[in-house]
């Protein structure tokens, strides 16, 4: 059964998604991030559908469990498209884009194969287990992908603030989801861990809403402002 905390987290995420979409209709410069907007639109639709299924069938129903895992897998794949879109924006301004693109594609393919291999080796016949494992693998792949995009960003001498915030937000999301997924596998009895994943899911649209509404496309952050800790 969902409590007030779950509802607040769900509402915060949903409102942030609607805000991003509304802001995109107001600020046409955001249409450059088409893949990202498509992902946010899919997220908003998913929030509505999952709410309807939850109300109709209940939290512990097979319908909801199947819907949750498979929609999560589809959304994560859409998120990859969004990251590839960010990547394309960085490549567009790199001088040696050909070599870097080839190198990144090789690394991405390796990581994707690794995720699929781990899933195939470990999954049982149950479809939900497969979806769960597949999501965990996708999160890990996404984390590595985002980190590569981050390295590309740092290779520029004047990273754009909007891209810095977007890429790091995605990295935190994927890293956090991977960690939460691993923790759930290691400690399945720990119920507090079930709050981690929805919270991470709500933080990403909130972060996107902040970035799009407060940070201008032209804002750039000096590299030394980002470095300095490690």
């Amino acid at each position: 059964m969902l409590g007030p905390f779950d509802f607040v987290v769900w509402l915060a995420g949903f409102l942030a998604e609607v805000f991003v979409l509304a802001w995109a209709t107001h600020d046409r410069t955001l249409w450059r991030h088409r893949a990202l907007l498509l992902y946010v639109a899919a997220l908003a639709i998913d929030e509505i559908l999952s709410f309807v299924i939850l109300r109709r069938y209940g939290f512990t129903s097979n319908e909801y469990i199947y819907y949750y895992y498979y929609s999560d897998a589809v959304l994560t794949l859409l998120m990859f498209l969004a990251i590839m879109g960010l990547c394309a924006r960085i490549f567009r301004e790199q001088e040696r884009s050909g070599r870097l693109r080839a190198l990144t594609l090789i690394i991405l393919a390796t990581v994707a194969l690794y995720a699929a291999a781990i899933t195939l080796v470990k999954h049982q016949v149950l479809a939900t287990h497969f979806a769960g494992e597949f999501c965990g693998g996708l999160y890990f792949t996404g984390m590595v992908m985002t980190y590569l995009v981050w390295v590309l960003l740092l290779s520029r001498r004047d990273p754009r603030l909007r891209l810095v915030l977007l890429v790091s937000a995605f990295g935190i999301y994927f890293g956090g989801q991977s960690a939460a997924s691993a923790l759930q596998s290691l400690f399945p009895a720990l119920t507090a861990l079930h709050y981690l994943s929805p919270m991470m899911g709500a933080c990403l649209p909130v972060s996107l809403a902040y970035t799009f509404s407060w940070v201008s496309e032209e804002a750039r952050i000096p590299l030394e402002q980002l470095a300095g800790v490690w």
Partner: protein
């Protein structure tokens, strides 16, 4: 074993990107230019002891009339971050009593952030008073 490896890697990368995200966020928030009302305060923050100026800016914020409801949540988070930096500085003292330049820069950014909030509050209050004066004259 596989899960443990994923957990360690994911935790390190999340922490790393989390710190970078926070720095970018703080930097973006402190990039707004101050108006004439608080420009001197900004210059003072940039001065030699500017890293300790958050408390003073917060005191000024408290005495400035506030029109909006609710607390300054952003300021609470920044205040906590400033305190964390202060504690870190005390725990890791440099030989010869030198200041850690990174911590000093971060604490300055915190103070600057509070100065922006003060600036916004002064602007809003001035606009409100200006509106009141116009209303009473008409």
């Amino acid at each position: 074993m596989h899960e443990l490896l994923v957990l360690v890697l994911a935790s390190i990368l999340t922490l790393y990107l989390g710190i970078r995200y926070w720095r970018a966020l703080l930097w973006s928030a402190s990039q707004h230019k101050l108006s004439d009302a608080t420009r001197e305060l900004g210059e003072w923050i940039d001065g030699p002891h500017g890293e300790q100026s958050l408390a003073v800016v917060c005191a000024l914020l408290r005495v400035c009339p506030k029109l909006e409801r609710g607390g300054d949540r952003k300021l609470i988070i920044v205040g906590l971050y400033d305190r964390l930096l202060g504690v870190t500085e005390k725990l890791l003292p440099k030989p010869g009593g030198e200041k850690n330049p990174w911590i000093a820069a971060e604490r300055r950014a915190c103070a600057y952030f509070a100065a922006i909030l003060l600036d916004q509050r002064i602007t809003r209050t001035s606009q409100w008073y200006a509106g009141q004066v116009t209303d009473s004259s008409t």
